[in-house]
């Protein structure tokens, strides 16, 4: 388990909030608690993987409304909803909007902690994907204009000859460009290159 991950708990009920904090901490996870959605939104969070344990029914901004706001702000964070009584329409809405779990109070500690682990893993994966993609972008940005042209044509499956004809340069030059592209994009095979291109799209 990544020690540098945080579970954020938002619940307006102080005793529930406190008991949740204690339970999560007993599973050796760091916890931050908030008494309202507004409180949470106004705080700058550390750039660690984590998840949100969110009460559905709260005065002011409700859990579902907070989920909406985060989506609108493109802040990706897995959410585990907890609710006093099972409300099917609300849970459906929450799951559709990307919630990880929807737990009915009171709940088993294992159920909650499993859900938290799943959520944190998801966040970690998401972050990794984002980092890779960023690196890939940087690499593709290091290509020259001509190299980019060649790159774009190569990944469509065109032969060197065809590319040379289309761009009006010699086939030999194309070969040089291809080698440079492979080197800059840090790939070993043509297949990897095509996969990279897919991800960049």
């Amino acid at each position: 388990m990544n020690p540098r991950s945080v579970v954020y708990v938002i619940d307006d009920d102080v005793s529930v909030r406190k008991s949740l904090e204690r339970l999560i901490r007993s599973a050796e996870l760091s916890v931050q608690t908030f008494s309202s959605a507004h409180d949470f939104l106004s705080r700058t969070l550390p750039d660690y993987p984590g998840c949100l344990v969110l009460d559905v029914k709260m005065p002011g901004v409700t859990g579902l409304e907070l989920q909406e706001k985060l989506t609108e702000a493109h802040r990706f964070i897995p959410i585990i909803f907890i609710t006093g009584f099972g409300n099917i329409p609300a849970s459906v809405q929450a799951m559709k909007a990307g919630a990880v779990d929807f737990l009915e109070k009171p709940f088993d500690d294992k159920t909650l902690l499993d859900a938290i682990h799943r959520a944190i893993n998801r966040d970690i994966q998401h972050r990794q994907k984002n980092t890779e993609l960023a690196a890939l972008r940087r690499r593709s940005e290091s290509l020259t204009n001509r190299e980019r042209e060649v790159f774009e044509l190569v990944v469509t499956g065109m032969l060197n000859k065809q590319i040379a004809f289309q761009l009006g340069i010699t086939e030999k030059t194309i070969k040089v460009h291809r080698a440079r592209i492979m080197q800059k994009m840090a790939v070993q095979s043509f297949a990897d290159l095509v996969r990279l291109a897919e991800r960049l799209k």
């Binding site: 009920d13 008991s19 901490r25």
Partner: protein, 866 residues
């Protein structure tokens, strides 16, 4: 036609024509005068212009002669006074010019030494005036008129001196100007017909006269007015009778001056000057005469055809009409114009007269018939007619007297009203005073009096009297008496019954009104208006706006619209609304109104009864409030909302407790358990548990707070519940019968809670009946004293009953047989009854359905007292 004379229409027409002609005549005269004056001035001007033209010619001629004489004076032959040579020159000159009668040359002594024509004996000019003037002036001289000194023609001599180098006068030339030739020359100026030209010298001697030169030349005319005027005025115009006795218009002028002056006169005869004028005048008068003659003729003919003959026809017709022939007509076809209209109206008048005559004949006939009829009526009429004179003596009386009063007419005639004793003593005075008014010319209509019949019975008669005039004087009174005894009786009984109904309506608490169907203005209202509105009957009837004004402002628009609609559709109805009494108090009233239709179907009155429903309304309002209150509580208790709220409140601490317990367990299972943390967990568990307990306590106290223990009559509670549930019971078509023990003891309890229990039982029972036919849906509610210290209430339904398990479990919480039920109703009921110290149970009936019972302990004091 023969009768026409000039004093008639014809003469007047002629006069009319003349009246038009005379001004025309005057106008022509006036214009002629004007023209004459203009012509005169023109002629005078012409005459003077001619005179001046002649004078110019004359002057010119004299100038020529002077040139000739000057030329001669320069010739050497004359200086030498060579007689033969000079005569020869003169002779040649005379041959060449025609204007001269002769030439001569003389020595300063007057001795003529040369001449042409030649002289036979010595002649001397020395004693001639012109010669003397030449010697004197040593210049050109015009001599006077002379005859035949040189030659024998009328001549005027012109003298001219010849001077030598030393300015010594050597020779005097004389030229004789032939006056006849001069006149011909001067007449180069053309004169109008009949005009005369006269030239006179300075002493008035006529030198030239055209025409008749021979007759007048040489005559001295200085005594004539013309000549005198010319000699003094020199230049001008005048109108005068001339030398030949002919009236002329003269113009004159003068050439030269002094003794050598020549006066030229031109005269134009008046006849010539006014010739055009005269001709035009004659023509105008002729035309006027002709036109006048034609106009007179036209007027004569027009009058004859268009006026006289139709008038005559009208005249003839009128004469016939006067003679009594009403059938006569003018029958003028063209009925235009005044005469046409006159004829038309004459015909109409004749027609009207004829018609009227026929009508009169018919009317006379009808009158005779009527007279017959009236006589019959008079004799057979049921009303009694009689007349009397100033002394109230009966003059005539109809035979109906016998029928009405039982007397014979003969008995009455000549007798006085007073002695007849047919009018009751009380009314007699009034009859007499009325009669005096009738004698004063007034009509007295329909006064009712009491009459006395022959056999002493009383009758009511309606008396109408009218004066009978003769020569503008009232001579008698005619009276008609109608027997109204029957009507009087009917009126009296009607009045009695009316009084009865009036007393009835007046005694009613409800307001009864009659009003105008258009304006809603009250025509009748009973005394209740004072109670309901606070206004007296008089005030209400006097001010028709009170009714509308009294309507509560919030209701006014709606109510007026409602009445308006009902009025339009003639719909009867009920209106309920608030009014503000005169004292400002608000009341609810209900107005049941109806539109009364007359015999011909027209709405004649707007009637209604108003009731004060304020108390009723207030009771309704109270009931509604009670019901709302109960249903609010009931809803909270029975519907899931309350349960959900309670569940959430308890769920929160439970969640926290579980979380804490699990955390503690995990901490303890670790290798190095943090005891402090576990302790904190446990503390939180305790706190949360207390919180949960608090929630439940709070809930209990909430339930309790609604209601307090009071002494209660259970029968009242049941009645209240039935009232509250009335709608539901009716909707479900359930017949509820209550058998409530009248002397049921009071109990101690919470009214709303007990209502709640009863509602649950009744509604459950109703639900159990829903599967049955409506006529079999029955429910009985009983109250009775059970044991010495408690009462029992039974709610029995005729439904399907409960099965074995249901009977045992039906009071458990969340147990329900109903799909939409929550299963708390009966469990809450059970807890309520238990709290009251009673029991609740259910049994199945032998005859079907179930009965729910509950007991309640009897109130301590009541139990003791009873």
């Amino acid at each position: 036609m023969k009768n026409i004379s000039f004093t008639g229409l014809h003469a007047r027409l002629m006069l009319l024509v003349l009246a038009v002609i005379v001004p025309a005549l005057g106008l022509i005269f006036y214009h002629r005068m004007e023209d004459k004056n203009a012509d005169r001035l023109q002629a005078l001007y012409d005459a003077r212009r001619l005179a001046r033209n002649v004078s110019s010619l004359y002057e010119h001629t004299i100038m020529e002669i002077r040139h000739i004489l000057f030329t001669l004076s320069q010739m050497p032959q004359f200086h030498a006074q060579d007689s033969a040579a000079c005569s020869k020159i003169f002779a040649d000159l005379l041959k060449q010019t025609e204007n001269f009668s002769g030439f001569a040359a003389a020595k300063p002594s007057g001795e003529v030494f040369a001449s042409a024509p030649p002289i036979t004996k010595p002649v001397s000019f020395s004693n001639l005036s012109w010669f003397q003037r030449v010697l004197q002036t040593r210049g050109f001289t015009i001599g006077e008129y002379s005859l035949g000194r040189i030659g024998d023609k009328p001549t005027i001599v012109l003298g001219y001196p010849a001077l030598d180098d030393t300015a010594q006068l050597t020779t005097v030339f004389a030229a004789g100007l032939d006056l006849e030739r001069l006149q011909r020359m001067l007449l180069g100026v053309s004169l109008p017909d009949g005009a005369i030209l006269i030239v006179i010298d300075s002493d008035g001697t006529i030198i030239l006269h055209f025409p008749d030169l021979e007759k007048f030349v040489g005559n001295r005319m200085s005594d004539k007015i013309i000549v005198q005027t010319v000699l003094t005025q020199k230049d001008g115009v005048m109108e005068e009778v001339g030398l030949d006795r002919v009236p002329r218009l003269y113009g004159y002028t003068t050439v030269g001056s002094g003794i050598e002056a020549i006066h030229i006169i031109v005269g134009i005869p008046a006849q010539v000057a006014y010739a055009d004028l005269k001709r035009n005048t004659i023509r105008d008068f002729t035309l006027l005469g002709l036109v006048s003659a034609l106009a007179l003729l036209g007027a004569w003919l027009f009058g004859k055809i268009f006026i006289i003959s139709p008038v005559n026809r009208l005249l003839d017709a009128t004469k016939q009409l006067a003679g009594g022939d009403l059938t006569v007509r003018v029958n003028r076809s063209a009925n235009t114009g005044e005469l046409g209209l006159l004829a038309l109206h004459f015909d109409k008048m004749a027609g009207a007269l004829q018609r009227r005559e026929e009508e009169r004949k018919l009317a006379t006939e009808a009158l005779r018939e009527n007279e017959e009829k009236y006589r019959l009526h008079f004799e057979n009429i049921s009303d009694m007619i009689f007349s009397y004179d100033q002394e109230f003596r009966i003059l005539s009386v109809s035979p109906s007297l016998e029928r009405m009063l039982g007397y014979k007419p003969e008995e009455f005639i000549g007798k006085s009203l007073a002695e007849l004793n047919i009018i009751s003593r009380d009314d007699l005075q009034r009859v007499f005073s009325d009669a005096t008014q009738v004698f004063a010319g007034k009509n007295i209509d329909s006064t009712t009096h009491e009459f006395v019949t022959g056999d002493g019975a009383r009758k009511y008669g309606e008396l109408s009297s009218a004066p009978l005039f003769r020569d503008g004087r009232v001579v008698a009174v005619v009276s008609v008496v109608r027997d109204v005894t029957a009507r009087k009786c009917a009126e009296e009984s009607l009045r009695l019954s009316e009084g009865k109904y009036r007393a009835l309506t007046e005694s009613l608490a409800d307001l009864i009104y009659r009003a105008d169907p258009e304006t809603f203005a009250a025509t009748y209202v009973n005394k209740a208006v004072e109670r309901i509105y606070g206004y007296s009957v008089d005030e209400w009837l006097r001010d028709s706006s009170l009714r509308e004004k009294a309507i509560h402002p919030e209701d006014r628009e709606r109510v007026l619209a409602f009445y308006g609609k009902a009025q339009k559709a003639v719909h009867d109805g009920i209106a309920e609304y608030r009014i503000i009494r005169r004292d400002g108090e608000m009341r609810w009233i209900s107005d049941r109104f109806a539109w009364e239709k007359g015999t011909c179907g027209k709405v004649v009155s707007f009637n209604g009864i108003m009731s004060d429903i304020t108390e009723h309304r207030q009771a309704e309002q109270a009931l509604r409030q009670q019901r709302e209150e109960l249903s609010r509580f009931g809803r909270l208790a029975t519907v899931g909302e309350f349960a959900a709220s309670v569940a959430h409140e308890i769920n929160q601490p439970l969640t926290a407790i579980l979380n804490n317990a699990q955390a503690a367990k995990r901490i303890l299972s670790s290798d190095t358990p943090d005891i402090d943390e576990v302790s904190a967990c446990l503390q939180d568990i305790i706190d949360d548990d207390q919180r949960a307990v608090e929630v439940i306590r709070h809930l209990r106290s909430f339930l309790k707070r609604q209601d307090a223990y009071r002494t209660i009559d259970i029968n009242t509670v049941i009645e209240e519940v039935l009232k509250i549930l009335y709608r539901e019971i009716v909707d479900r078509q359930v017949r509820v019968t209550s058998y409530l023990s009248p002397d049921i003891p009071h109990i101690e309890g919470r009214r709303i809670e007990l209502q709640q229990v009863l509602m649950n039982l009744i509604l459950n029972g109703c639900d159990a009946l829903m599967n049955l036919d409506p006529q079999r849906r029955q429910m009985h509610i009983r109250t009775s004293v059970d044991e010495p210290n408690s009462i029992v209430v039974a709610v029995q339904d005729s439904g399907t009953g409960l099965d074995k398990i249901e009977i045992d479990r039906v009071f458990e919480p969340y147990y329900t047989t109903k799909i939409e039920g929550l299963g708390v109703g009966l469990s809450i009921s059970k807890s309520i009854i238990a709290a009251h110290g009673g029991r609740i149970w259910a049994v199945n009936n032998h005859e079907g359905g179930a009965t729910f019972y509950f007991t309640l302990p009897i109130s301590k004091e009541k139990a003791v007292s009873s």
